[in-house]
Each structure stands twice: as structure tokens, then as C-alpha cells.
């Protein structure tokens, strides 16, 4: 992005009718690590790539359970995401208290979007620098929504946000028509395959049990599940077996334990900074607790 004289204030339009600060906030989302969401007739699955702040630290949390029927994946400023997730949690509990029913997902997302919009129209505030993929089920079935710092929100059949998400989106555009009838295992596998696209371009990285987290919500009464660590192993193993959607390294045998920290060509969402950074070469064993 380029600097110009209309981007200092959130409350200043550019002559082209753009709010540059809001667009810069959306850049912060693009710098966060990838999150992928896919939806079928019965389930929604989120697959996320966890990033490590440094070799010494644990991973950044990407999935937040909101209520029994909603889970979100975040990309961008984690601290801002915490604020939004806390808001979502209190809103869902309040709704359940008042109406004795789980909150409809669209209503919740609308409220979050309104909250994001408020901070795009106050001189004293800055926009939320986080995008959410909201996965939930209500009486109308499963839903996948995306929210933006701008206050916009959209419902999707499949979506990816964060760093290198375009590769995942390209893969999803090719395959999304098959998702509707997919069973839950197939759906999880396609989410993980799409997520793999976001690391495929970098030779040093691959999906491992340490950097992948999956969440599933379904209408079959199974509620909400989060899969991490060893539980994601079967889906990662199945990646090598499946034919790759694009040319990427197939480092078989180098599966789980030799988890090199994902090379970050983008600034770390953990630090909460949106400043561009040089490629961080991360070699050697990354023996981190998740």
C-alpha cells in the first residue's frame, strides 16, 4: 500500500471515496496467518494455521469457542480478536438467558459487524485489525460468515483469510460445488487441503500437528469440536496420499516431529504490529508446546 495525504485520519475520505485507514486495517488481516472455512449441508469446518511468536514461545490461539454452537477463527491482531470474542461470548449468553435458545448466527455476526463499524466512524478510535471466520449452526442449518474491520460481513460456502489465502481460495473455487453433499470427514479433509495451499508456496513449511488446528460444528447434535495436536494427524497424513492440487514439496517421512517453525514472510500477528518485516528464516527443531 502507498502512503498519501488522506490516510492519517480514520474520519477523512480520499478524493476517490476511500477510507484508507480502514483499508490498512484490512491489510492487518491479510498479514495474519491463514484461516480456512468450508460448509456443507450439515457441517461447517474451520482449519487454521497456527503461528509461533518465536522459537521459544507457544503458539498463538486461532480458534475461539463462543457458545456450544459457534466457533470463530481469527486472522490479524490477536488482542483485538480477544475483545471481539469476549463480546460474542457475552452476547450469546445474554441471548440464551433472555430467550432460552441459542443465538442465531446471523444475528451475532451482525452485532459484531456493527461493533466493528463503530470504530471506523470515530476520530478517537481505530478500526479492529482482525477478520473473523464465524462457523455456527442454528435452526436454519450450518453457516459460515466472514467479518471485516470495515464492518462488512458476508456469508460463504467456503472462504479463506490471512496470509497467502488467495491460494486456498483458488483451490476452493475449483472444489466448492462438491462440498454441499460432503460427509464430515470429507469436509475436514477439504478444509485441511485448502489450508495446505497457503503453505505450499514456501519450501520450508508444511502442515504439522503442532501448527494446525481444526474446529467442526454440526447440525447432527454433535455440538462443537476442536481438534488439535495428535487429533489432526490423520488429516495431515491423508494430504500426502491425495494428489496435490498445485505443485508443492512432498516431504514424506518428515511428518510431524521435525516441525520447522513456519517461515513468516509477513509480520507476526502475535506482536500486534502491522509493520512489514523481512523473511524470518526459522531452521532447526521447533520443539514447542502448543
Amino acid at each position: 500500500m502507498f502512503r498519501n495525504q488522506y490516510d492519517t485520519d480514520i474520519t477523512t475520505y480520499s478524493p476517490q471515496g476511500r477510507l484508507h485507514q480502514v483499508e490498512y486495517a484490512m491489510e492487518a488481516v491479510k498479514q495474519g496467518s491463514a484461516s480456512v472455512g468450508v460448509r456443507s449441508k450439515t457441517h461447517v469446518v474451520l482449519a487454521t494455521l497456527k503461528r509461533f511468536a518465536s522459537e521459544l514461545s507457544g503458539d498463538q490461539k486461532k480458534l475461539f469457542a463462543i457458545d456450544d454452537h459457534v466457533v470463530i477463527a481469527i486472522s490479524g491482531l490477536t488482542a483485538d480478536a480477544r475483545v471481539l470474542s469476549r463480546y460474542m461470548r457475552t452476547e450469546t449468553q445474554h441471548h440464551k438467558f433472555m430467550y432460552d435458545e441459542p443465538m442465531p448466527v446471523g444475528r451475532l455476526v451482525l452485532q459484531v459487524a456493527d461493533k466493528c463499524q463503530i470504530s471506523t466512524q470515530r476520530a478517537s478510535k481505530r478500526p479492529f485489525g482482525v477478520g473473523l471466520l464465524v462457523a455456527g449452526v442454528d435452526e436454519n442449518g450450518p453457516h459460515l460468515y466472514q467479518t471485516c474491520p470495515s464492518g462488512n460481513y458476508f456469508e460463504y460456502l467456503a472462504m479463506a483469510i490471512g496470509a497467502r489465502s488467495q491460494s486456498a481460495k483458488t483451490y476452493l473455487e475449483r472444489t466448492y460445488t462438491t462440498l454441499a453433499e460432503a460427509g464430515v470427514e470429507e469436509l475436514i479433509q477439504s478444509a485441511v487441503t485448502a489450508l495446505r495451499e497457503t503453505v505450499a508456496s514456501s519450501k520450508d513449511t508444511e502442515l504439522t500437528t503442532k501448527n494446525t488446528a481444526i474446529a467442526i460444528v454440526g447440525t447432527d447434535g454433535s455440538g462443537m469440536r476442536v481438534l488439535e495436536n495428535a487429533a489432526v494427524q490423520p488429516y495431515i497424513d491423508a494430504l500426502d496420499a491425495a494428489s496435490p492440487a498445485s505443485d508443492d514439496e512432498e516431504e514424506d517421512g518428515d511428518g510431524d516431529n521435525a516441525a520447522a517453525a513456519p517461515a513468516a514472510a509477513a509480520p507476526d500477528a502475535a506482536a500486534g504490529e502491522a509493520a512489514p518485516a523481512a523473511d524470518a528464516p526459522a531452521e532447526g527443531p521447533a520443539d514447542m508446546q502448543t
Binding site: R89, Q93, H94
Partner: protein, 271 residues
């Protein structure tokens, strides 16, 4: 707490002192004092027109007692929480089957008697707090945490209490069974056996004698098994149901062990 004052049909439970009445009770009393003039029931619920002493006046009566008996008995590695299901009002029975029990976690169960409306709201609020705790701490609330939280919640309503008489039972983090008894404003005590509600005066002495072996000298103090405890509780409810008009219909019994909560139900007399 003057329990007897609450049993007279149509008796008002004044939560707020009546103003402008000569000789009105000073301070804050839950329950009519014996000797005070009976208030005539009015058409509007919650409002009482008092005719006896002085000019006609209205008083806002926010409370009513729906009766019911709840108890919790702890043993070695288990706890049993039970309550009857009759909803009473005066000499009537609005419902034979209301649940007074809230399963808080797989190891903690709450039972509340008193006013049904306050019980429902208290349980709803507790449910919210349990979810919030679970989301923040990534684990379920322990028995000790739940017992303290309930006490705090009741006390925050110190000056307009939840009209509920609670008992909490469960397994703590060491696998031991414990019960807690509460008053309406949160005073609580960890015990082995406690009973609250309209049948309290009938059942509590039996629990003291048979579970804690009080007033028995020379008798061997044996730990009752889960089955023996449930038998005792069944007998206690059956007996209380005979003498207390507000206790009857059905009994819900929750047995809490390390394997979770098992609920059974049995029927009492419907009279």
C-alpha cells in the same frame, strides 16, 4: 428464620417493612411475626391490602413460598442430591412436577426450594456463570468454586434476596463427597448432610442422627453405602410427605459419583 410463620395459608411474607403503620416492624424481616394482624389476600398478586391495624393500605409483596423440600447427603466418594417436585401455593397445588434441581457440572448439583420464580432466575444466572467460567478457565467449575460462587451471588442480593433455600452437593477435586447448606443471603457451611425447605424440620434431625450419628452414644459410626443412603432418603421423603402438605408428588434423586450424575425418580403420595 421463622419457618412456621410461612406455612399459614395466605400468610404474607413481607420483604419490606410497611411504612406509616404504627407499630410496624422495624428493620428487615422475612416472615410474619406471630401476633401481627393477618393481612387479607388481595386480587392482585404481590400486593396485600392490610385491614386490621389502622387505615386500609397496600403493601408490595414481592415474595411467595412455593414450598418443597431439598436435601443433599454426602458419603464416601459420592453425594446424593434430592428434591420433591410439588409446587404449592397456599392450599393449592399449581404443579405436581417442577424440577428444583440444576445439574451444574458432572460433579456438582444444586437444589433450591422456596420461591419458584427466584429459583428459576438464580439457576439461569448460574448457568451463564458456569459457561463463562468454562470458557475463561478451560475447565469445569469445581465443587468448592461453585459453592463459593453461589454464596457470592446470593450475597450480592443482600438487600432484596433471592427467596431460595439452596443445597449444593457433589464430588470435590480430591474425589470426596460433600454437601453445602445455604441460607437466602449466602451464608453457607460444608457438611455431610443437609436439608432445606418446608420439610427441613422433619428431615434434618433424621439426617443428623442416621448419617452423622449425632445423639447416639456408643453406636458404631459406619459409612453408609450409596444404596443405603438412597434408601434412607426415600424413607425421609415418604415420611415428610405424610406430615408436610407442601412436600409430595414426586422425588428427583441425583446420585453423583466419579462416573457422573445419575438421576432417578420415584413417586410420593399425591395428597
Amino acid at each position: 428464620m421463622d419457618a412456621l410463620g410461612l406455612l399459614r395459608p395466605g400468610a404474607s411474607v413481607s420483604g419490606l417493612p410497611a411504612a406509616h403503620t404504627p407499630g410496624a416492624a422495624t428493620g428487615f424481616a422475612l416472615g410474619d411475626h406471630a401476633g401481627r394482624a393477618q393481612a387479607a389476600p388481595a386480587a392482585e398478586p404481590g400486593v396485600v391490602a392490610s385491614t386490621a391495624s389502622g387505615p386500609l393500605q397496600r403493601r408490595f409483596q414481592p415474595y411467595q413460598n412455593n414450598g418443597g423440600t431439598v436435601l443433599a447427603v454426602a458419603g464416601k466418594g459420592f453425594c446424593v442430591v434430592a428434591s420433591d417436585t410439588r409446587l404449592g401455593l397456599g392450599y393449592s397445588i399449581p404443579s405436581r412436577k417442577v424440577s428444583r434441581i440444576l445439574k451444574m457440572t458432572d460433579k456438582v448439583v444444586l437444589a433450591s426450594s422456596g420461591m419458584q420464580a427466584d429459583m428459576l432466575t438464580l439457576h439461569k444466572t448460574l448457568r451463564m456463570r458456569l459457561v463463562q467460567y468454562q470458557q475463561t478457565h478451560q475447565k469445569h467449575m469445581s465443587l468448592t468454586a461453585a459453592s463459593q460462587m453461589l454464596s457470592n451471588m446470593l450475597y450480592t442480593r443482600r438487600f432484596f434476596p433471592y427467596y431460595t433455600f439452596n443445597v449444593l452437593g457433589g464430588i470435590d477435586e480430591n474425589g470426596e463427597g460433600w454437601a453445602y447448606g445455604y441460607d437466602a443471603i449466602g451464608s453457607h457451611e460444608k457438611v455431610s448432610a443437609v436439608c432445606s425447605g418446608t420439610g427441613q424440620t422433619l428431615i434434618q434431625p433424621v439426617l443428623d442422627n442416621q448419617i452423622e450419628f449425632k445423639q447416639q452414644w456408643g453406636a458404631p459410626k459406619v459409612d453408609l453405602s450409596l444404596e443405603a443412603t438412597v434408601e434412607l432418603i426415600r424413607d425421609a421423603f415418604t415420611s415428610a410427605g405424610e406430615r408436610d402438605i407442601y412436600t409430595g408428588d414426586f422425588v428427583e434423586i441425583c446420585k453423583i459419583t466419579k462416573d457422573g450424575v445419575d438421576v432417578e425418580e420415584f413417586q410420593l403420595k399425591l395428597d
